[in-house]
């Protein structure tokens, strides 16, 4: 368990589609737009590649927030992938809410390859929200912490 005095550093997992959001994150990087270091990005080919299992796993392993980023509706590299992602996540997030993982800990955002500033803004905003909510106590596997 973490020290009492030590400030708790939340952990955020971001799933980014290869074509838009990951490129948007790259652009945020090359434009030197900073966002908190506790955001860690996993590259997936498309937002529709994100299996709800990945998100459950993240929360189980102690993630405090999970964000899924894809291309803007209509701009998906694979035409319809982000629509699938949106519908799946709508259902998943409702279920997570039922399980006690606040609705604010999960998010879907559309970030295009040209929106480096938007990527950084979204991540800053999300991280601030998660900071506010504090540690995720639900669903975590205590064996995985520490």
């Amino acid at each position: 368990m973490q020290e009492i005095n030590e400030k708790y550093e939340p952990l955020i997992v971001a799933f980014c589609c290869n074509w838009c959001s990951y490129a948007g994150a790259d652009l945020a990087g090359s434009s030197r737009l900073s966002y908190p270091a506790n955001v860690k990005i996993i590259r997936v080919p498309c937002s529709c590649r994100v299996n709800p299992m990945f998100i459950l796993k993240a929360f189980q392993r102690g993630a405090d927030g999970v964000i899924l980023c894809g291309c803007h509706p209509g701009d998906c590299h694979y035409t319809t992938g982000n629509y699938y992602a949106r519908r799946r996540m709508t259902m998943l997030f409702d279920m997570l809410d039922y399980l006690g993982i606040e609705r604010e800990r999960t998010r879907v955002e559309w970030v295009s390859a040209a929106e480096g500033n938007r990527f950084a803004a979204v991540m800053n905003d999300f991280a601030a929200k998660i900071n506010e909510l504090g540690e995720n106590k639900r669903l975590e596997d205590l064996r995985c912490k520490n």
Binding site: R49, V50, Y78, T79
Partner: protein, 663 residues
């Protein structure tokens, strides 16, 4: 048991300034499976790559992790390096510690810790990688060009020149596009038609080029090298193979009320018409909205006049399907709608016109035969006021946020031509900024001012209103700090340009991305300006952004070079990161095929041995690897977990999640 090598790049100071690369490579060397770990100044350099190759051989590595810049930058480079050293290229993982770490974090401790986690995550994924082999697909040696303006024409001519077949699909009845409507071209003032029509004729005469005018793209299937496109050939009511373009039908037609689109609706034309004298194909077309025979069934004069019997009132739209290796979008632009700019009185006054209308009014083949006359009373205008930036650079929501780029130059051209032809005319130009970058462009603009005495006024017009038969143009003169009103006979608006609206539909069909202004997005703003992010789709001309004719032609030829490069290949390596189904787990439910955007999944009946000599036949999913693009939609939809994506397997992403969450 894998033997992994870790290579941490400094990227000069780009990474090393904020990330302690020594420490990262030291910590990662203790990770499970890692047998070798090092760091170097520039991994992507010749020496860096040599270092990787040597390490692969010396340490018998089965996979490598490179902690460097974005995989979108150098993944391909390091895959080639690995391949050269005898390693499967898909046993390479990149940890992005530049764009996602060193460039965005300032604290060295923090950045180093994150770099370690990113490296660790890449190792966790690599431990589950399997060697993949790219398949090969053939290339259809034919290109499709959508749009027959100067951009499409130039691209088609260049592709045909290289010996490949190319089709031009043009929605209007003739190719030529906007350039055919222009009178003169800047900065040399040569006649637009004189330089365009020979190119149009070249297209018609080329054996390699098939012009499908009056046609639209209806449906696009397939992928780079292997597109199948359905094209709608709209009913012309005139047989293209028979019509000689004699024009007898036009003279016979009693309906003469159709607005002449080619002349920007400034005059009328018959219901059966040839858009302009040099049209290609030089074939008549019937406007079904105006044709009496088609509307009422009574008439048929043109059919009786036609000596070759080309006219067929029963003609219907037909569809053709063709295969292409590459698709070029060259859909061009139009003048944007001025409905939100009441202050300029465009809708209320006939003598407030757009610059493209002025082109027609000055053109010898235009509605006035080349004499500049006011549309309202056909009098010669003595005072002409030009207003620039109408709807361009406008972020109030009424116009376009971008600069339309061509207006400064064409306004200078118009002003100059008018002063040249009618020296008794007073010409005023309201401008905000004059933008004339380009060879001989600023000299051209200065000539308008210094040699031709055009009055340039720095300021913007607030209102145009009619006063008798005059137009009062009220605006500010910022340099004199005055508000002035110019009594004018004609007002010409340099209206913003916008992409041809049909481009949205086409972009969706091609899954080519489009920006908020409906311009198509290029694959890279600087380094891949003529390619769309969608493989096999290329951009030519205004559909990508505002540009003038010289720039359009340069881009069109660049685009053709890219297409030729693709068509010259016999085989394309396909992406091996595709879906595959575990037949033992698949129950043939059909869910995956429903979500596949490419129709890559089919079902086959397969015989399985059950042991004891018994067999069972089951329906299982089968993925066409050449068609699958690897989005992974099916992997999530599959209820039994039989579908998985090579290179981004469930297990691999799970391992990444676990590694990131390990505190």
């Amino acid at each position: 048991m894998q033997r992994i090598g870790v290579f941490v790049c400094w990227c000069g100071n780009n990474i090393a300034a904020t990330v302690d690369v020594e420490r990262v490579s030291e910590i990662l060397s203790h990770e499970y499976g890692v047998v070798y770990s090092t760091n170097y100044q520039f991994m992507c350099s010749e020496n860096g790559q040599q270092l990787i190759k040597t390490a692969i051989k010396e340490h018998n590595l089965t996979g490598i992790v490179v902690c460097s810049c974005s995989p979108r930058m150098h993944e391909a480079t390091f895959r080639k390096t690995a391949e050269a050293a005898g390693l499967n290229p898909y046993m390479v993982e990149i940890a992005n510690i530049r764009e996602h770490c060193s460039w965005i974090h300032k604290d060295r401790e923090e950045a180093t810790a994150k770099a370690v986690i990113l490296g660790r995550t890449a190792i966790a994924k690599l431990l589950l990688n399997t060697p993949l082999t790219a398949g090969e697909v053939g290339v259809t040696k034919r290109a499709l060009v959508i749009g027959g303006g100067i951009a499409g024409i130039q691209t088609a001519l260049d592709i045909a020149e290289a010996g490949y077949e190319v089709d031009i699909v043009e929605q209007r009845a003739t190719i030529g596009g906007r350039m055919a409507q222009l009178d003169k071209t800047f900065p040399t003032l040569d006649c637009s038609a004189c330089i365009l029509t020979p190119k149009m004729v070249d297209c018609a005469q080329s054996e390699k080029i098939d012009i499908l005018a009056y046609s639209e793209v209806e449906e696009v299937k397939g992928f780079v090298g292997n597109f199948t496109v359905k094209i709608r050939r709209k009913a012309r009511y005139v047989d293209e193979t028979k019509c000689t373009g004699c024009g007898a039908c036009m003279n016979a037609c009693p309906s003469k009320k159709g607005l002449n689109e080619f002349n920007m609706n400034l005059n009328t034309r018959p219901a059966i018409y040839i858009p302009f004298a040099q049209a290609i194909p030089n074939v008549a077309v019937i406007d079904p909205e105006q044709c009496l025979k088609l509307k009422t069934g009574k008439c048929g004069l043109c059919q009786r006049k036609c000596e070759v019997g080309a006219i067929d009132y029963t003609m219907q739209d037909t569809f053709i399907e063709r295969n292409y290796g590459a698709i070029v979008v060259a859909t061009g632009f139009r003048i944007s709608d001025l409905k939100y700019f009441n202050e300029y009185g465009y809708a209320d006054n006939k003598d407030v016109i757009t610059s493209l209308e002025l082109e027609r009014l000055m053109n010898a083949a235009g509605p006035t035969g080349g004499t500049l006359l006011r549309p309202s009373d056909k009098k010669h205008p003595k005072v002409i006021t030009f207003i620039q930036c109408v709807g361009s650079r406008d972020i109030s929501g009424c116009g376009k946020p971008y600069c339309s780029k061509i207006c400064c130059m064409y306004t200078a051209k118009h002003a100059m031509l008018i002063r040249e032809k009618y020296p008794d005319t007073e010409v005023h130009v309201f401008y905000i900024d004059i933008r004339t970058p380009g060879k001989n462009y600023d000299e051209f603009y200065r000539r308008a001012v210094e040699q031709y005495g055009v009055d340039y006024i720095k300021g913007m017009v607030g209102k145009v209103y009619a006063n008798g038969d005059k137009l009062m143009v009220q605006g500010s003169d910022l340099l004199n700090n005055e508000q002035i009103t110019i009594e004018s006979d004609l007002v010409v608006l340099a209206a913003a340009i916008e992409p041809e609206p049909s481009v949205r539909r086409i972009a969706t069909m091609l899954s080519a991305s489009i920006d908020t202004n409906n311009f198509l997005t290029e694959a890279h703003a600087k380094l891949r300006p003529v390619e769309s992010p969608t493989a096999g789709v290329y951009l030519s001309g205004m559909c990508q952004g505002p540009k003038d004719i010289p720039e359009t032609v340069s881009q069109a030829s660049a685009c053709a070079a890219k297409v030729i490069g693709l068509l010259a290949k016999d085989k394309l390596k396909s992406n091996p990161c595709v879906s595959h189904s575990d037949e033992m787990m698949c129950n043939g439910c059909g869910t995956c095929a429903n979500v596949c955007p490419y129709g890559a999944i089919t079902y086959i009946d397969k015989e399985f041995r059950l042991g004891g000599g018994k067999t069972e036949t089951r329906r299982v999913a089968s993925v066409n690897e050449a068609v699958c693009q690897g989005c992974g939609a099916c992997t999530v939809a599959c209820p039994s977990g039989a579908m998985d994506l090579k290179g981004f397997a469930n297990k691999q992403i799970m391992a990444e999640v676990e590694s990131i969450c390990k505190r």
